[in-house]
C-alpha cells in the first residue's frame, strides 16, 4: 500500500554505520554483580523494598514506584542484595546515584509470574496500564518515560492513530532492527495490546527504508496474525526521522504543538522495543528486567545482546572480545544524541540502546578539533528539524543572553545534533544550548525558592498582624465584660489589684518576648473557646509546614 507521507523539514543524511545489523541477538554471560539504579526513568526515583542480605528471585519487585510518574524496579536474576548504596550511573555528568547491588546466584530462579495472555481483551485500558506500570516498563527508545503514563492520554483526548516508532534513525544502533527481524510476532502482538490499551483506530509501525528485512518480517507476521488494521510504513532514511514529533509529522502530517503532547493531535507513539516489553509483560507477566543493546563501533565482535538491566558496561565490552584499555571513548546511545560515559563500570539501564566503542579507528567519530569562528553559513538552520535559528541561539547562549535565547525558542530544541553535525566551524552548538537551558533552569529554581521565602515572610507578617488584632479584640471584650461586672459591684481596690496584676503580666510577657524572640504562648487561664482557637491555629500551622516540607522536597 502506498501511503502519502509528509516529510519533516531539515534533518541530515548521516553515514548509517549499522555494521551490527548482521548479528543475531545473543545472550552474554551472567556478570558478577548487577548495579540497579533506582532512577532509570523520567519522574520520581523508585524506593527500595528489600534489605541488604535478602535473597530475591528473578522478576521480584525490589523497589516500588513512589509517584504517578514513576515505576517499580525488579530483580533481573535471582541472587542476594549485597548493598543499597551510591554508585556511578550512566549520566553525562558522571554522577553517582542510589543503586541496589545484586549478586547473582547463577540459578536464575523465577518469581511466580501472572500471565494475562487470555484475558487482556477483557481488561479495561486502566487495568492494562496498571499491569504495564507494575512491570516497570518505560520508553526503551532513550528517554525512559513511564509507558503507563504515556498510554494515558486523559479523558478528553481522542486517539485515532497509534504509531510504533521503529525508525532507529541513529547511526550504529541496530537493536530494534534485530528485534523486528527475529521477533516480529512479538512486535505485532504487542501492537495489538497497545491498540487495545489506547483504543486507536489505526496502527502504523514506522521504520526507515534502510531496514527492508525488518519490514518484510513484520508484514509477514501481520499476515499470519490476520490483523488488518496494522500497517508497516517505510519512512525516508533521514536523521532524526525517529524524533517523536518528526515521525508524527511524517506519518500523519500533523504538527504537535510546541511543548504539547502527541495526544493533542490524536496520536500516541511507542517505541518498538517498548512494545515487545509490553507484550512480554501481558503475555507472560514478565517485568522489564532485560533489554537488547547493540555493542558496536571499534569492537572485535559486533553484536546485539539481550543483557540484564544492571550489567556493567565493562562486562558487555569484554563479551565483545574487546580490551577496554584500547578505547578512548565509550558512548551510551548513538553517536548523535548519546553521551560519553566517564566510568566503564556504570550499568546498562532500561534506556540504554547501544554501547558505542571508539578506539579512534573510524574517521566519522573524530574528537572535535578546536572550533573556528562561526562564519554564519546557515548550514545549521537548513538542517534544524525544528526550524529554529541555531546560529542566533549560539550567539545568545555564548553571550549569556538567556532571556533572548528563550525568545528564540531554545526550549523547543530537541538536541538532535544536526546543526552541530554540519557546522563547518566545528562549534559544539548543542553543548551551548544545554548550557543555556541548564542556566535558565537554575535561575528559575532560584527564583522559585526566593518566591517561596517571600510568600512565607508575607504570610508570617499577616499571621502576626491577625493575632495581634484578635488579641486586641479579646482584651476589648474582656474589658467590656469586666466593666459590666464592675458596674454592679464596683470594688475599687479589687479592680486596682487586678489592673496591677495585668500590667505586671504584660510587663513579664514583654520581657520574655524580647529575650526569647519568640511570641510566648499564653496557655493559662484560657476559655474553652480560646483553647479551641489555638488548637485550630496550631493545626493550620502544622498543615502548612507539612505542605511546605512536601514542596521543598
Amino acid at each position: 500500500m502506498i501511503r502519502k507521507l509528509f516529510p519533516f523539514i531539515g534533518g541530515v543524511k548521516v553515514a548509517s554505520e549499522k555494521q551490527a545489523a548482521a548479528y543475531a541477538i545473543s545472550a552474554p554471560e551472567l556478570p558478577d554483580k548487577l548495579i540497579l539504579p533506582l532512577h532509570q526513568h523520567i519522574g520520581s526515583p523508585s524506593e527500595p523494598v528489600v534489605e541488604p542480605g535478602q535473597r530475591v528471585l528473578k522478576g521480584e519487585k525490589i523497589a516500588r514506584a513512589t509517584d504517578y510518574v514513576s515505576v517499580p524496579l525488579h530483580a533481573p536474576t535471582s541472587g542476594t542484595i549485597i548493598a543499597i548504596t551510591d554508585s556511578s550511573v550512566a549520566h553525562p555528568s558522571g554522577m553517582q546515584d542510589q543503586c541496589i547491588i545484586l549478586e547473582p546466584d547463577g540459578e536464575d530462579q523465577w518469581y511466580p509470574l501472572q500471565s494475562h495472555a487470555e484475558d487482556f481483551h477483557q481488561l479495561d485500558p486502566s487495568a492494562l496500564r496498571n499491569l504495564i506500570r507494575n512491570a516497570g516498563i518505560v520508553g526503551l527508545g532513550g528517554a525512559g518515560f513511564p509507558s503507563s503514563v504515556k498510554l494515558n492520554p486523559g479523558p478528553d483526548a481522542n486517539i485515532d492513530t497509534l504509531i510504533i516508532n521503529a525508525s532507529e534513525c541513529e547511526p550504529y544502533i541496530t537493536c530494534d532492527d534485530r528485534v523486528m527481524q527475529e521477533r516480529p510476532d512479538d512486535v505485532i502482538q504487542g501492537t495489538i495490546i497497545l491498540k487495545h490499551a489506547v483504543s486507536a483506530e489505526q496502527c502504523v509501525i514506522a521504520l526507515e527504508d534502510n531496514k527492508p528485512e525488518a519490514a518484510q518480517a513484520l508484514e509477514l507476521a501481520i499476515q499470519e496474525a490476520g490483523v488488518s488494521d496494522i500497517t508497516v510504513v517505510r519512512v525516508p532514511t533521514i536523521y532524526p526521522a525517529g524524533g517523536e514529533k518528526q515521525l508524527i509529522h511524517t506519518i500523519t502530517g500533523r504538527i504537535v504543538p510546541s511543548h504539547g503532547l502527541p495526544a493533542q493531535v490524536g496520536v500516541i507513539c511507542q517505541n518498538v522495543g517498548t512494545t515487545v516489553a509490553i507484550y512480554r509483560a501481558i503475555q507472560f507477566g514478565e517485568p522489564l528486567i532485560s533489554r537488547i543493546i547493540s555493542v558496536t563501533g571499534d569492537v572485535e565482535q559486533q553484536s546485539n545482546m539481550e543483557v540484564l538491566v544492571g550489567t556493567p558496561v565493562s562486562h558487555v565490552i569484554k563479551q565483545s572480545k574487546t580490551t577496554t584499555s584500547e578505547l578512548r571513548r565509550v558512548i551510551m546511545g548513538g553517536p548523535m544524541m548519546g553521551f560519553a560515559i566517564h566510568d566503564l563500570d556504570v550499568p546498562v539501564v532500561k534506556t540504554t540502546n547501544c554501547v558505542l566503542c571508539d578506539a579512534g579507528k573510524n574517521p566519522n567519530l573524530p574528537l572535535k578539533p578546536a572550533a573556528m569562528p562561526c562564519i554564519r553559513c546557515g548550514a545549521c538552520a537548513d538542517v534544524c528539524p525544528v526550524k529554529l535559528m541555531p546560529q542566533q541561539l549560539y550567539w545568545y547562549s555564548r553571550a549569556e543572553e538567556f532571556d533572548i535565547t528563550r525568545e528564540y525558542h531554545i526550549f523547543d530544541c530537541i538536541e538532535c545534533g544536526c546543526c552541530d553535525y554540519v557546522c563547518p566551524s566545528q562549534i559544539p552548538l548543542v553543548q551551548y544550548y544545554r548550557y543555556a537551558k541548564s542556566e535558565i533552569w537554575a535561575r528559575e529554581e532560584e527564583n522559585r525558592k526566593s518566591d517561596i521565602a517571600r510568600e512565607r515572610h508575607e504570610f508570617r507578617q499577616f499571621r502576626m498582624d491577625r493575632e495581634k488584632a484578635e488579641k486586641a479584640q479579646r482584651h476589648k471584650q474582656k474589658r467590656a465584660a469586666l466593666k459590666a461586672q464592675q458596674g454592679e459591684e464596683k470594688p475599687d481596690a479589687d479592680k486596682e489589684a487586678k489592673r496591677a496584676a495585668i500590667l505586671a503580666a504584660m510587663e513579664r510577657a514583654k520581657e520574655k518576648k524580647s529575650h526569647s524572640g519568640v511570641q510566648p504562648k499564653n496557655t493559662e487561664n484560657l476559655t474553652e473557646e480560646q483553647k479551641q482557637q489555638i488548637k485550630e491555629a496550631d493545626a493550620r500551622r502544622i498543615a502548612r509546614q507539612q505542605a511546605e516540607r512536601e514542596k521543598g522536597k
Binding site: I331, L365, C377, A381, M389, V430, Q431
Partner: protein, 340 residues
C-alpha cells in the same frame, strides 16, 4: 582515561577550509576566462593580492595573538584577495591591489574581530575604498578589440603593473568599461543605439568578453548552489529584481535605458550575485531574509548604475545591504516547528 565530549559525536566531513576551497574551485572557470580575455595581468594581480592578503592576515593574527595556522589556512583571506583581483583593472599598478587588500584585511576584517565577525564584505570594502580614492587607476581598463593575451605578454603585463609603463602606450590601450562608457556617452545626449553601434565594446548580449566571463561565473555559482555551499535565494532575488527593473525602464525608453539582458551580463553582476552577495558572514541568513537582501541588492545595483555617479553598483549595493542584514534577520525569523 576516557574522553567525555558532549554529543553529537558524529561529524560531517566539512570545515571552513573546505567550504572556501569549494568557492575557489567555482571561481576557476571565470578566472581562466578573465585571463583569456583580459590578459596575464589578471593572474599577476591575483598573485599579488593573495600574497599581500596572507601577509596582512599573518601580521594581524600576530598582533591579535591568534593562532596562525588555522586562520591562515582557512582560505578566507585568499578568497578576499581573489575577489578584489577580479574587480580591478588588470593593468592597474601593483600598489592599488596591495593597498586594497591590506585595507580589506586590516580594517574591514580584523578590526571588526576577524573571520566571521565582519559586518561588511571585506573585498567590497577594499574595492569601494580604491574606487573612491583612485578613480583614474580603477576605471582604466584595457581596450579589447582582440584577445589581450595576444597583445600583451606576461612580462609586458608585469612591466605595466610594476611601474614601468610607457604612459602614452598604456593610455592608448586603455579605456572605460562598457558600463562606464554608456554612462559618459548618455551624458553627451547620445542614444543607446548610436552608442552601441559606434563601439566594439558591446558583445552579443552583454559587453564584449565580459559576457563570457559572466557566464562562467554563473555556471560556477550554479554549481555552488548544487553543492549546497550557497543557497538560491540571494542570487535569484537579486538577478530577478535587476531584470524586472531594467525591463520596466527599457520598455519606457530603450534609447536611455539599457536592456535587461545587458544588465545581467555586464559588469560584475554574475560575480556579485553568486559570489559576493552570498558571502555568508555579511549577508542575511534567514530564508526569507535572504530574499529581501537579494531584492535590495538588485534594486540598488540598478539605481546606482542608472542614476548614480559610479559605473557599476555591485560593491556599493552589497555594502549598503550588509548594513541592513541584522535587521532583516530579526524581522524574518522563521516560525519554529509546532508554533505555526
Amino acid at each position: 582515561m576516557l574522553y567525555t565530549p558532549s554529543s553529537p559525536h558524529f561529524h560531517a566531513n566539512t570545515s571552513v577550509r573546505k567550504i572556501m576551497m569549494t568557492v575557489m574551485l567555482a571561481l576557476v572557470p571565470g578566472t581562466i576566462l578573465s585571463v583569456w580575455f583580459l590578459g596575464w595581468g589578471v593572474l599577476i594581480q591575483l598573485g599579488i593580492a593573495i600574497i599581500a592578503g596572507l601577509f596582512a592576515e599573518a601580521i594581524m593574527l600576530f598582533i591579535r595573538r591568534r593562532p596562525l595556522t588555522p586562520f591562515l589556512g582557512d582560505g578566507s583571506v585568499v578568497l578576499t584577495g581573489w575577489f578584489l583581483a577580479l574587480c580591478i583593472p588588470p593593468t592597474a599598478p601593483w600598489w592599488i591591489i596591495v593597498f586594497g587588500v591590506v585595507f580589506a584585511v586590516v580594517i574591514a576584517k580584523h578590526l571588526y574581530g576577524g573571520l566571521g565577525y565582519n559586518l561588511f564584505n571585506p573585498a567590497m570594502i577594499g574595492y569601494a575604498m580604491l574606487l573612491i580614492s583612485f578613480p583614474k587607476e580603477m576605471t582604466q581598463w584595457l581596450n579589447l578589440p582582440a584577445l589581450a593575451l595576444d597583445n600583451m605578454s606576461f612580462s609586458d603585463a608585469g612591466r605595466v603593473i610594476f611601474g614601468n609603463p610607457v604612459a602614452t602606450e598604456l593610455d592608448a590601450m586603455s579605456s572605460a568599461t562598457p558600463l562606464d562608457y554608456i554612462k559618459t556617452q548618455l551624458g553627451l545626449e547620445r542614444g543607446l543605439t548610436e552608442i552601441q553601434l559606434g563601439s566594439s565594446r558591446f558583445g552579443n548580449f552583454g559587453s564584449a568578453s565580459f559576457e563570457w566571463i559572466a557566464i562562467a561565473f554563473l555556471l560556477g555559482g550554479l554549481w555552488l548552489i548544487r553543492r549546497g555551499v550557497i543557497q538560491w535565494q540571494i542570487p535569484l532575488a537579486m538577478l530577478s529584481t535587476l531584470f524586472i527593473l531594467a525591463s520596466l525602464f527599457y520598455m519606457v525608453d530603450p534609447e536611455r535605458y539599457s536592456n535587461p539582458v545587458f544588465h545581467l551580463f555586464a559588469g560584475a553582476t554574475m560575480l556579485g550575485a553568486f559570489f559576493i552577495a552570498t558571502d555568508p558572514v555579511s549577508a542575511a541568513t534567514t530564508p526569507h531574509g535572504k530574499i529581501w537582501f537579494g531584492i535590495g541588492i538588485g534594486a540598488l545595483v540598478y539605481v546606482i548604475r542608472t542614476w548614480g555617479g559610479y559605473p557599476d553598483g555591485i560593491a556599493f549595493a552589497v555594502l549598503l545591504m550588509n548594513l541592513t542584514a541584522p535587521t532583516i534577520d530579526y524581522y524574518t525569523r522563521p516560525k519554529p516547528f509546532g508554533h505555526e
